[in-house]
Structure formats: C-alpha cells, structure tokens
C-alpha cells in the first residue's frame, strides 16, 4: 500500500511521516509512507494525508502553489475515492471556507466555515494548546478500539480556529472548550482531525493504524 503525505511546505512533516511509519510497523501493515510534493504520486496513492500548520489562507495558497497538486488531490479523493486524512489545518481545508484573516475558499468537502473559537468561559485561553478528551458524536471506523469520553484517551490540540460544520452528520467527534468545538469530521472516504494524531501518542498511533486499515 502506498500512502502519500503531501509536502507543500507546511507542517511538522517529519513527525507525521515518522508516526505513520511507526503505526504501520506496529500494526503489521505493509505500507510505504511517502512524503511527496509530486502530484503524480498523490494521484496514484492508495491513501492520502494532508497535514498543515499555520494560517488557513497561507496553507490554501501553499497547496495551490505546487503545480498540479490541487488537481491530483481532487482526483485521488473525489474521483478515485481513496481514503483521505486531513490533519489540523489540513483538516480545516476540507471546509467550505476559512475566515481566518481573510475569506478563503476551501476544498468544499465538509460543509461549514473555519471560524475563530469563542469559548463561553473568558478564562479559557486561545489558542487551545494541550491535551483534551474527545466526545464521539457518531461511531467511526477510525475510532475503533479507542476509548473516548471522560476517562478516555487524550488528543493533542494546538489551534485558535475550528471547523463549524453545518451538517451534524459530518461531525464525528467534539471537544468541550467553553462549548462544543469540532475535533474530527468525516464523510464517505474523507476524514479530518483538528488534533495532531502524530503527536497524540497512544490515541494517535491507534487512529493512524485504523486509517491505514480503513476500507470506506
């Protein structure tokens, strides 16, 4: 199995690559993890991962700046329906629009805008940095065997914005941060994680293994 992690100059790409390699090794999955900026490799991959760190508009522009990459991503995910995982801003890019700094059109896979978090409790810090537990809104194969809820495993978050998804069926998990904020979205072969699985130790490695086995 060939897994393409898209390199468009954004994100902690080495960490993501190493975490996918380790998850595959520990789960006994024969996967070649390839960090790539080549559209042909992305278009032909069996699974596609889009990381991303920074501002929405910058990441969107960065993705478009790699010639042919946006088209390759659409071919792999929309046309060929390959399993896709967006991470952090990579997840946010799945939305209709990003409203950080300016209005930016997203990939349009998950309905809703990426907006600044406005926790009801003014004591809560922005960005949210650290470990939080997840509330699963709907069962999803990527969370198979992962304890969630109070007493469940923790996921690592670093973000000031979240995807305010308008179709509840596309919200897989939320976190409590002065109100429910979106932690994980999905539909069909597309999944997106606001937290960093590659930094989330037990929960992260389990989720990545599930992604590598996922047959949507």
């Amino acid at each position: 199995m060939r897994v393409a992690i898209i390199d468009y100059g954004s994100g902690n790409l080495r960490s993501a690559t190493k975490a996918f390699e380790r998850a595959a090794r520990e789960a006994g999955i024969d996967a070649a993890i390839e960090l790539t900026d080549r559209p042909d490799i992305v278009a032909a991959a069996d699974r596609v991962v889009l990381p991303g760190v920074g501002a929405y508009a910058d990441c969107r522009a960065g993705l478009k700046a790699v010639s042919g990459m946006n088209e390759a991503l659409i071919e792999a995910v929309e046309t060929k329906a390959r399993p896709f995982l967006g991470i952090c801003v990579g997840m946010q890019l799945m939305s209709s629009r990003g409203l950080e700094k300016t209005t930016t059109e997203g990939l349009g896979w998950i309905k809703g805008d990426v907006v600044e978090m406005t926790p009801s409790d003014p004591e809560l810090k922005i960005p949210q940095i650290g470990w939080n537990t997840l509330e699963l809104a709907a069962p999803h194969p990527l969370f198979d065997g992962i304890p969630t809820g109070r007493g469940g495993l923790h996921a690592y978050f670093v973000h000031s914005y979240h995807l305010a998804a308008t179709n509840p069926a596309e919200v897989i998990a939320t976190i409590e941060y002065g109100g429910a904020m979106t932690a994980f979205v999905g539909r069909d072969n597309m999944a997106g994680s606001q937290f960093h699985p590659e930094k989330s130790q037990k929960l992260g490695l389990a989720l990545i293994s599930n992604f590598l086995r996922w047959k949507p």
Binding site: R14, R22, V53, P127, I129, G130, W131
Partner: protein, 258 residues
C-alpha cells in the same frame, strides 16, 4: 471533557549534549538528549522543551540533529529554544521535527521578528520566552523588568507590558521565567506568573524555581499558568513526571493520566 494542565520537562542542551546529564533512569547515555527525550516520553510528559545553550557558532548545527533524532522516536510535542533569531532558524527547527519554537532575546531586540515569525508559521508555533526579575522595592507596587543574557543585562522594559506587546505581535504562548527564582528551588514567582497570565489571552507556561510538587500545583492554581515547566526536580530523579502529574491531579487539577 476539559483541557488538561501540562507538565513540561526542560533539557538544557549544549553542543548536542544534555548539560549535567539526566539521572532518573538507567539511561545508556545520560548525556544524550534523545535518550532523555525517550524516557520522558515514556514517563508521560505532556510536552518536552529543549533549550539550546550552545555558545560556539561552530556547533550551532548540532541542535538540528538532536531535534531530528528525537522526532524519529518521540510522538510528543517538542518546543525548541535558544539562539532563534531568524525565520531560517525556525524553518530548520520545524523541518527537523520541532512543533514550536521559543524566541527569547530576538524578541526583545526586534519585536517585529515575532510578528514576522507568527505570520509565516502561525501563532500556534511561536512561544515567546520572557525572562524577568522583580525590580520594585519592598512596599512598592510589584514591578518586573525584562533581563537578557541569563539575567545579567537589564533592559528597562516592563515585563507585563512586554507580554502584552508580544501577544499583539502574534506570540501564541508565553514561557515566563523568574530570573530571581531560577535554580533556587523556592518555587515559581507566582505573582509574576499570575500578573502575566491574567493580562493576556494566550496560555502561559510557568518556569523558574521549582523545588517540590506543591510548587507545580501553585503554578496552576495561584499562578494561573496552564502549563508548568521544570528541569532539575525531574533530571535528578527527585520526582518522576508521573508522580508530579498524579500529585497535581490529587490536588484538584485536571491532568492527563493516560
């Protein structure tokens, strides 16, 4: 259910080696930062911090190799500081596997560098490290000043004002170190920590002076920090990270005990 307070061990790294070593486990090489990072990862540290104190420019590259080797083995968030002066430094650290960088003297000398860095890499990965000393006399209202060069050089800059300006420029987090307390084991300067934490919206990491686990509890409860950083109590094996986290949980602080 809720965001947990973080415990962050900090390793001083010089020329690619841990200063003074780490003694809390049977490490094959107690001076190897990667070995120490792996041990802290296993112990449940919520994040790890490397502070590069390499003086010679010849050896400045060693930290990139340390970060890269750490990222190969550890799936925990990693902040790297020390000598971060240019966008190119940040890019290299992030590519090597750091998640956040901390900016210290460059933020004092050129505050616009913080804005430039936050614009390029996002606020979430820019930590501004604030080294402050209390300068008010007894009986006066509390006043703290920014010091550079390990607490030797006063700058005349008020620490609370500086914190606010750094957040305006895009710092996503502040690492607040009391230079009066650093190395003293008498506890954080809780008034300083709280004064800054209450004046900004971003998370504050308390640092400098931890002697026992009550100091960590106080950092969160009285200092209003969302993360507590410590070095020697962990490196010398006085307490394990696990003990620290359980102790904080027993004192009513929400902690990650996965």
């Amino acid at each position: 259910m809720t965001l947990k307070a973080r415990v962050i061990p900090c390793l001083d790294v010089k020329d690619g080696r841990v200063v003074k070593g780490v003694n809390f486990l049977d490490l094959v090489d107690a001076g190897d930062p990667v070995e120490a990072a792996k041990a802290y990862d296993l112990a449940g540290a919520d994040e790890l911090c490397f502070l590069d104190i390499t003086a010679s420019s010849d050896n400045r590259e060693t930290i990139f190799d340390v970060v890269a080797r750490t990222a190969d083995h550890c799936f925990m968030p990693l902040t790297v500081g020390g000598g971060v002066r240019a966008v190119g430094d940040i890019r290299k650290l992030l590519l090597a596997g750091a998640d956040k960088v901390s900016i210290n003297s460059a933020a004092v000398n050129n505050p616009d560098f913080v804005a430039e860095a936050a614009d390029k890499f996002g606020n979430q990965c820019i930590v501004v490290s604030i080294d402050a000393k209390k300068v008010s006399a007894a009986g006066e209202a509390n006043r703290w000043e920014i010091f550079t060069h390990g607490g030797r050089n006063p700058t005349g800059i008020d620490a609370i004002d500086f914190a606010g300006r750094m957040v305006e420029r895009g710092a996503g987090e502040l690492l607040v170190t009391s230079m009066d307390r650093d190395g003293t084991k008498v506890g954080y300067d809780l008034e300083l920590t709280r004064a800054i934490a209450d004046s900004v919206r971003v998370p504050v990491i308390a640092s400098g002076g931890v002697g026992d686990l009550d100091d960590l509890v106080a950092g969160v409860k009285q200092g209003h920090a969302t993360a507590v950083l410590a070095a020697s109590i962990f490196h010398f094996g006085t307490y394990t990270v696990g003990e620290a986290k359980r102790y904080m949980a027993d004192h009513g602080i929400a902690m990650r005990l996965d």
